[in-house]
């Protein structure tokens, strides 16, 4: 049965910048550090720490001790200010990031709408990107042509469909990305808020397409800043703050609390 269980999930990721990306500099700084025997305090407050091994690598604690469980039928909204860990949580659920600690158990086929370009190659044409996407989903040949027609009609790209993506306007890119991303019918749907982009005319078409996808999924997890979107789509809200779950419960109660919190800031 489809389910998501997280227990004590923490995620720390390295931020590589400047010297820590260099093999030569890392080697030398290691040597230097072992001579100087830098003492580092064990408990560092805040979300950022330096790597203990002295590679000069910044560690960001993105999620801390998350324990959550989602059952079929749940439409979960993630709220919280920027950097609260909403997208990181989605990426963990999608299997793109692996939790550093804790148990992650995801049962069911999942599909993530996190990156609006869903990994498309800007140099390839729309059609070529679609073929790659279809192969990624493991579709059969006869299905691919059906999907091709579907996407072509939906994205309204016209002749641009056979031109490289880098020539597209941003609206066209979003339309194609959206059309592709909404093709599969997964058990678990994970969405970041970008899906609300696009022009007005596209908006209503998109919503229709999205709602088909949402209704066929067992579990939906959406991260968004738009409270009205969350009110319409979700029946449970998880309010995140600095990588923790601050509140978790039915939509109205949590969103009201969240709104109070926002207006007091």
């Amino acid at each position: 049965m489809t389910h998501i269980h997280l227990r004590d999930v923490s995620l720390t990721f390295p931020v590589l910048h400047g010297a820590s990306k260099s093999f030569k500099k890392t080697l030398f700084s290691r040597a230097k550090n072992s001579v100087k025997k830098i003492r580092q305090s064990a408990a560092v407050g805040g979300a950022m720490t330096m790597d203990k091994s002295g590679s000069g690598c910044l560690l960001v604690q993105a999620l801390t001790g998350l324990t959550l469980s989602f059952q079929p039928g749940e439409r979960v909204g993630l709220v919280g200010h920027n950097g609260a860990g909403k997208t990181t949580l989605l990426r963990v659920l999608a299997g793109i990031y692996e939790a550093t600690e804790g148990y992650v158990d995801v049962q069911g086929e999942r599909h993530a709408l996190i990156d609006p370009q869903s990994g498309m190659n800007p140099e390839l044409t729309g059609r070529e990107n679609l073929r790659l996407f279809a192969l990624r989903l493991g579709l059969k040949k006869e299905d691919i042509s059906r999907f091709e027609a579907d996407v072509e009609a939906f994205a309204e790209l016209g002749l641009f469909f056979d031109l490289p993506l880098r020539l597209y306007s941003s609206g066209m890119g979003v339309r194609l990305g959206f059309a592709l991303a909404t093709l599969p019918r997964p058990d678990i749907l994970l969405m970041d808020e970008w899906f609300m982009a696009g022009d007005q005319n596209f908006q209503s078409k998109a919503e229709q397409r999205l709602s088909q996808m949402v209704s066929s999924a067992d579990i939906v997890v959406v991260a968004s800043h738009s409270l009205s979107v969350l009110r319409t789509w979700c029946n449970r809200i998880v309010w995140m703050e600095a990588g923790h779950v601050k509140m978790d419960g039915p939509t109205e109660a949590i969103l009201d609390a969240y709104e109070d919190f926002l207006s007091n800031v």
Binding site: L16, T67, S69, N235, D248
Partner: protein
């Protein structure tokens, strides 16, 4: 809706996935990644094929440009070095044509290309859950296609001098298979290292330059006379020779095959080791 965050009765202890204490989703490791990659083989091939199409879009000769360049190289170097080494052009040129193809379109191209294996796939790696060996398949497919275009030069030289390898050429098949495995291992090893340390690709490039001169590619091992046995210490020599001998019509040397197999085993071991440590972190290094 329930506020209860975690239902212990349905909790996943390590019991449901015994060999995987940490997290059931990620217990996979190298073997599971390879299995997943096998399922996505068509995607890997399509990616490699599209890379070639893209690289030569708008070019009349396409990948054959490389063939033209290697043909020029073989002709000019053949003339020069046959004089320098006092060798008969009719025997030297077929050797040089095969050697240069194996080195340039084979080993050197594959090693250098392996470095970018994961870096170039950043967008896909960050957007969805894909097994990383998929990108190794892509790089190898790409290089096989380019290699195939370069076969023309030695073929033309053979036709010109009417020298054909004969049945021994069948020994090239297992050698080519070993090359493919090595190519995949190189991608996983160098791809992971280069994703973490971005200054490794130029280091690799410089080292390969050295290897080119100390490996018998433009010169024949026999020219070293008594010192030829030291070549056995160079794994690139064995790797080249197991494919070059059959292509030139010689039965392969058992010792060289043993060295090549041993070196491949070491390479695969190193790749597995590095990949195991790196696989979950590559996405953060992008």
């Amino acid at each position: 809706m329930t506020v209860d965050p975690f239902v212990p009765t349905t909790s996943v202890q390590s019991g449901s996935a015994p060999d995987c204490p940490k997290s059931p989703v990620s217990c996979s490791g190298l073997r599971a990644d390879l299995q997943e990659t096998r399922k996505l083989l068509r995607l890997g091939i399509a990616l490699g094929w599209l890379d070639i199409k893209l690289r030569y879009r708008g070019s009349v000769l396409g990948p054959f440009w490389l063939t033209v360049v290697s043909a020029l190289m073989v002709i000019s170097m053949g003339g020069l070095y046959s004089t320098l080494f006092h060798m008969n052009l009719a025997s030297y040129l077929p050797f040089l044509a095969v050697s240069l193809m194996l080195w340039q379109a084979g080993i050197a191209a594959q090693v250098q290309d392996s470095c970018g294996c994961f870096i170039e796939a950043e967008a896909m790696i960050r957007a969805s859950r894909l097994p990383l060996p998929l990108f190794a398949v892509r790089v190898v497919v790409r290089n096989v296609i380019i290699f195939a275009h370069n076969i023309i030069v030695p073929l033309a030289v053979s036709a010109f001098y009417h020298v054909w390898p004969g049945v021994a050429v069948l020994w090239a098949l297992p050698a080519a298979a070993l090359w493919l495995v090595d190519g995949l291992a190189l991608c996983l090893l160098l791809g992971a290292l280069c994703a973490r340390y971005r200054d490794i690709p130029p280091i690799v490039g410089a080292l390969m330059q050295v290897v080119f001169y100390i490996t018998p590619i433009i010169w024949a091992p026999a020219q070293l006379h008594d010192y030829a046995r030291f070549l056995l210490l160079n794994p690139f020599y064995a790797a080249i020779e197991i494919l070059r001998q059959p292509l030139l019509g010689h039965e392969p040397d058992t010792l060289l095959w043993e060295i090549a197999l041993g070196a491949s085993a070491l390479l695969c071991g190193a790749a597995a080791l590095v990949y195991r440590k790196a696989r979950a972190r590559v996405v953060f290094w992008m």
